[in-house]
């Protein structure tokens, strides 16, 4: 047998340039981090100026809140408040102090509780994160199980799968929450009505957020799965003697999850706003409850602080999504 000439057209191998590669990767990471910080500064600036834009003098608002009535206050009554909250400094100083404080973990002082906003929010963040991340994980599991089991399984099964996804994707959180509460806590008392943040009490709130999201992720994954199953490499795998289930799990799935991964960053952010509803329905502690109270009492620094925390979660979530995407699709790392 003749020896074949080595392929002269082979591209330069990636391992041949390890140094340049890692430099590029480091530069990319630095760029990502810098843009994340820029977004946070922008968010902090917007929330700071939004606080100023609210009509009326801030010290007056605080005194009104404190005393529960609307009136004019004399300057001798206002000045201690101005001094306490730093409203007597020039605007630029206040702005720099706010943005700078944000990076030091200082979000100002609550108008209603006279405590730092960080301590108002702090204790509530963990239950909300547990709720939202839990919902995201559960939604992924539902979406994957339903798509893998039902995509291209004959007209009937496929129809059931995609209708299930369309139905769940269209459900509003408050409706799912109330129905789950009535069915699984009141009629069939498996779960507590008032959840608390224990594991057992977390099940229904998580499902409330997970079910609509799973339908949404499932629809996206199903579309992609359907396309991937038509790809020539699937035919190649079949021609090697691979069975249908193995093809789905070992070849198609990895390709099919890519769009849903991209959407997960957005989904995590959206879940935080959904968390407000779930926490209210189940009387569960969390950032949502704090936000509702703060909005009702016009506690602007607390609202602003929560907005910033949500922005930070968004940014971290999207960085994680980028990492996850690159882990699943190594082509991204190469380019």
């Amino acid at each position: 047998m003749t020896t074949l000439a080595p392929d002269v057209l082979a591209p330069v191998t990636p391992t041949a340039l390890p140094a340049r590669r890692s430099v590029r990767a480091a530069r990319r990471a630095a760029l990502k981090a810098a843009s994340a910080v820029a977004v946070l500064i922008a968010a902090a600036s917007v929330t700071f100026f939004a606080q100023l834009a609210i009509p009326g003098d801030r010290a007056t608002i605080i005194l009104n809140l404190q005393n529960g009535r609307e009136q004019k206050w004399s300057s001798s009554e206002l000045s201690p408040v101005n001094e306490k909250f730093g409203f007597d400094h020039p605007l630029l100083t206040q702005y720099l102090h706010y943005v700078g404080g944000f990076f030091k973990g200082d979000l100002g002082t609550s108008y209603t509780q006279y405590r730092p906003v960080t301590s108002v929010i702090g204790a509530q963040i963990l239950p909300t994160l547990v709720l939202t991340v839990g919902a995201l994980v559960v939604a992924w599991i539902f979406a994957l199980v339903v798509t893998v089991l039902t995509v291209r399984r004959g007209r009937a099964v496929t129809g059931i799968g995609s209708s299930f996804e369309a139905f769940t994707a269209s459900l509003p959180h408050y409706w799912v929450g109330v129905i789950l509460l009535v069915v699984f806590a009141v009629k069939i008392p498996i779960f507590p009505v008032i959840g608390g943040d224990g594991l057992w009490g977390t099940v229904l709130p998580v499902l409330t957020l997970a079910i609509p999201l799973s339908g949404f992720l499932g629809q996206v994954t199903r579309d992609e799965f359907d396309k991937v199953l038509d790809q020539p490499f699937i035919t190649t795998a079949r021609a090697r003697g691979m069975g249908d289930t193995a093809i789905r799990l070992r070849h198609a799935l990895r390709h099919a999850v890519l769009p849903a991964i991209t959407l997960s960053g957005w989904a995590l952010g959206a879940l935080i706003s959904g968390a407000v509803i779930a926490e209210n329905i189940y009387g569960r502690p969390g950032i949502g409850q704090v936000l509702v109270t703060a909005v009702n009492t016009r506690d602007v620094p607390t609202v602003a602080g929560i907005v910033l925390v949500v922005a930070a979660v968004y940014i971290v979530a999207n960085l994680l999504v980028d990492l996850a995407y690159a882990a699943v699709d190594p082509r991204l790392r190469a380019s």
Binding site: T2, P232, R238, M242
Partner: protein, 557 residues
């Protein structure tokens, strides 16, 4: 070099000359449409059967049927479909899975999409071993390296750790073949295994299949390309509309065809023998042919020391066009031929002034062209037309054919002044490219590939250009349609005296069309001269290598 060990096959060897696979009266239908209409053939050990046909002939469906992957809603029937005594029609899904990969290897075209891009090459090549319980976790990677070595992949350990997109087209295709022959199947079916490859790489892949044949593997080669088939096949079956119209020893079918369709197909292949000859049999040009005059005075289009540099994703500059100069005279066809990445399309885009060169300039009739501003160039644009490989993506899919051509007319030096005049001139142009009145109101999506290319040519002609840049204009077409389009381009040149800058990777097409030829490699012009000089007396080693690698009909054995 290690010969792939035949651990399983040796015990069940079919005697030479005897059929390994017998197919009798095979029929495949999707719904009401029968796409394979009763074909019969046999495949023998150590021999290659080629099934040749154009798109829609049913050749790929036949290939898939032989591995039981026709598709869920297909109906397959045959008087006989048996692989060495096993009735394939009677196999259940489980038995099919044991057969695929082990008894029958299957190679698809373009490994970029036929290998899973997200998995390592080693995992892909080793998958059949795993599926058929060959060896264990330790011995399989060794076997993968052995297989990659046997198909001529250099540095196999490293390649196995890479992913398919990190390999060149040729290496990928070899990896795909390595995976198909991993268990040394007695039958390998290759469906267009070289279609996306450059001619030199194609030659290597064909050699690889030939080596496998030498070792006793039976090969069924599916192809649209008669020259590729000539290099490898012992027997050729020509398919059209689901039927085998001619079947015989390859030398006889390719050199002395009996069936009219085979003859038409062979005539349609452009090569050094077809210069100045019509490719479509029995047709004649609209006007009596005269050798068109070429004005060798001042060049119509002139490129001077063109250079284009791109910065790659790795931050390294790559010179994709490197000091390229050319002249194109009125009435002449200048061919640019090269493999992928040679810079031929970039050169064409610079000539069109759609891409700015870092160095050099392009002159049109001796006047500045590439150095003009967009605004200055606009009134001259109509003098240079363009035809691309994929016309569909250059049309607005919602526009009718008539509107596409009319739009181009209105950009010419004398736009139609009335609706009637516009319609008459659109019809005239469509007639010139062989389309009729009934196609005026049709959208491009409802036309065939050949018709679309005709519309693209009509559009290019509408503003009465002196020059048309044709970038791979026939590469996506079947050989018979390609022949029609090439004949059309030749007729138009004879009638209108238009010049062509003709870009193609296909040496046969370039030889057929060009008066003079530039051979490009890695952005440089390695050789230039008249078509006959280049193709019969190539001076540059690269041109010589290209021509050696070029499959020819005369190679039929």
């Amino acid at each position: 070099m290690t010969v792939v060990a035949s651990k399983q096959a040796s015990t069940r060897q079919v005697a030479p000359g005897q059929a390994l696979l017998s197919v009798q009266n095979l029929r495949v239908a999707f719904g009401e449409t029968e796409v394979v209409k009763g074909i019969s053939f046999t495949a023998r050990p150590g021999s290659c059967l080629a099934i040749v046909g154009e798109s829609g002939s049913g050749k790929s469906v036949t290939a898939r049927t032989l591995v039981g992957l026709t598709g869920g809603d297909a109906r397959v029937a045959a008087d006989r479909l048996d692989l060495d005594g096993t009735d394939l029609l009677a196999l259940g899904e489980r038995a099919w899975r044991r057969t695929r990969g082990k008894e029958i290897g299957f190679v698809l075209q373009d490994a970029l999409v036929s290998l899973d891009q997200l998995r390592r090459v080693g995992a892909e090549v080793g998958e059949p071993l795993e599926l058929h319980d060959w060896g264990d976790r330790r011995s399989r990677p060794e076997r993968v390296v052995e297989l990659l070595t046997s198909v001529g992949v250099p540095e196999p350990e490293m390649r196995a750790r890479q992913r398919p997109y990190e390999l060149s087209g040729g290496l990928r295709q070899r990896a795909l073949i390595a995976s198909a022959i991993a268990l040394d199947p007695r039958l390998v079916i290759a469906d267009e295994p070289t279609t996306a490859l450059d001619v030199t790489v194609q030659a290597q892949v064909l050699d690889l299949l030939a080596a496998s044949k030498e070792r006793g593997t039976s090969i069924i080669l599916i192809s649209h390309d008669l020259s590729v088939v000539a290099r490898l096949a012992d027997e050729v079956a020509v398919m059209r509309d689901g039927e085998i119209v001619e079947h015989g020893v390859s030398r006889q079918v390719l050199c002395d065809p009996q069936h009219e369709y085979t003859r038409a197909l062979l005539d349609a292949v452009p090569s050094e023998h077809t210069r100045g000859v019509r490719l479509v049999r029995g047709t004649s040009p609209s006007t009596p042919r005269e050798r068109r005059p070429i004005d060798r005075g001042r060049p119509l289009l002139e490129g001077r020391h063109l250079t284009k540099v791109y910065r790659g994703p790795d931050g390294v500059d790559r010179t994709v066009v490197d000091d390229v100069s050319f002249e194109l005279y009125a009435g002449e066809t200048l061919g640019i031929v090269g493999e992928s990445g040679s810079g031929k399309t970039t050169t064409a885009r610079i000539a069109l002034a759609m891409l700015e060169a870092e160095g050099g300039e392009v002159l049109l009739r001796g006047e500045p062209w590439s150095t003009l501003t967009q605004r200055e160039r606009r009134p001259l644009r109509n003098r240079v037309g363009v035809v691309y490989q994929d016309p569909l993506s250059s049309f607005d899919p919602r526009w009718s054919v008539g509107r596409i051509v009319a739009d181009a007319l209105s950009r010419g030096p004398n736009p139609p002044s009335s609706a009637e005049e516009r319609r008459t001139r659109v019809l005239g142009l469509l007639q010139k490219v062989g389309l009729g009145e009934h196609q005026v109101d049709v959208g491009p999506l409802r036309l065939s590939g050949g018709q679309r290319q005709r519309v693209a040519i009509a559009r290019a002609l509408a503003p009465e250009p002196e020059l048309i840049v044709c970038d791979e204009p026939v590469s996506a077409l079947d050989v018979s349609v390609q022949a029609q389009v090439l004949d059309l381009l030749t007729d138009l040149q004879d009638d209108l005296g238009v010049s062509y800058l003709f870009i193609s990777h296909d040496l046969g097409v370039i030889h057929h069309m060009s008066d003079r030829v530039l051979v490009m490699k890695d952005g440089k012009v390695v050789e230039r001269g008249t078509a006959d000089d280049i193709f019969t007396r190539p001076q540059d080693p690269y041109t010589q290598r290209l021509l050696t690698a070029l499959p020819r009909l005369e190679q039929a054995s």
